[in-house]
């Protein structure tokens, strides 16, 4: 059984805007460092407030209980949804016995990736869904 080796990471967020409701999608916030199509994503980890209380800009991170109400869809540069509606809960490391989720290395289309609400629960305007993308630079 293998676990991921961290080479480079970038914190990525999706911001809950307005009143959250079932089926609403929130696209990932733009990160120039990851938007130049020169990085290969090979692992992903999600954080709730149990792992990270606030983001660097002071925003509130979604509560651990609300992770169950969110899924994640990732798209590559060909706009293929190579990860579709994966439960956010499954991306939290401590929910997986300490294993970080590894992905078949791909160049991603960051701003077309999104989180989707299946149950609004305690989600609120301005909260952030936070991820660490583990990547390598395209050689």
């Amino acid at each position: 059984m293998n676990n991921l080796v961290i080479r480079n990471s970038q914190q990525v967020t999706a911001t809950i805007e307005g009143t959250p409701s079932a089926n609403r999608r929130y696209k990932f916030d733009d990160i120039p460092n990851l938007s130049r199509n020169n990085v290969i994503l090979y692992g992903i980890e999600a954080f709730t407030d149990a792992q990270l209380a606030n983001t660097a800009d002071g925003s509130t991170v979604v509560a651990a209980a609300d992770a169950l109400g969110l899924t994640v869809t990732l798209k590559d540069v060909r706009n293929e949804e190579f990860v579709y509606q994966m439960p956010l809960y499954n991306l939290v490391r401590s929910n997986n016995g300490g294993f970080i989720v590894m992905l078949d290395p791909k160049i991603i289309n960051l701003t077309d990736c999104y989180v989707q609400v299946n149950l609004a629960g305690g989600l609120a305007d301005g909260q952030k869904v936070v991820f660490n993308f583990y990547y390598d630079l395209k050689k």
Binding site: R7, E45, F47, N54, F99
Partner: protein, 153 residues
Amino acid sequence: MVQELIEKFELAGYCKDYTSTPGAKSDVISIEIPTNGAQRIYLPQNSLLDNATLTCIEVVPTEVQIYGFKQDGTTIENIPTSSLNEFAFTLAIDTEDKFTVPFTGLNSNGNGGKYSFISSVPGEHRIGDSYIDQFSATGWAGQIITLRFWYND
């Protein structure tokens, strides 16, 4: 198919067996938190680690080791596990951040005993440029952050 993917990952250095040794040797950096509330704390310079291949980083909460060591040789309480979601560590060189990991990810005790494996060769990091961010307003001044770095020469 999965085996092929794992072999590709291992070849690229993206993963390794979770039971692997975290590293050949380890060193500890202890930092006394200077003030209360949100802040950035730079690590002290460490040329030994600058010139080593870093393979793993751990944060040591008080539930694992009650006291950490201050530079004057005295000891004081390590930060508790309950505070770990308020901190993150960034490995950097000059002004370039290599990676940022919340302390909760560096606590093997909270991750089923799994270490946080990393890979950074000399020239890709400088400990004196690396830092810890506290994102909360909570007061932890005076307590110690103990970071254990595993490395290979």
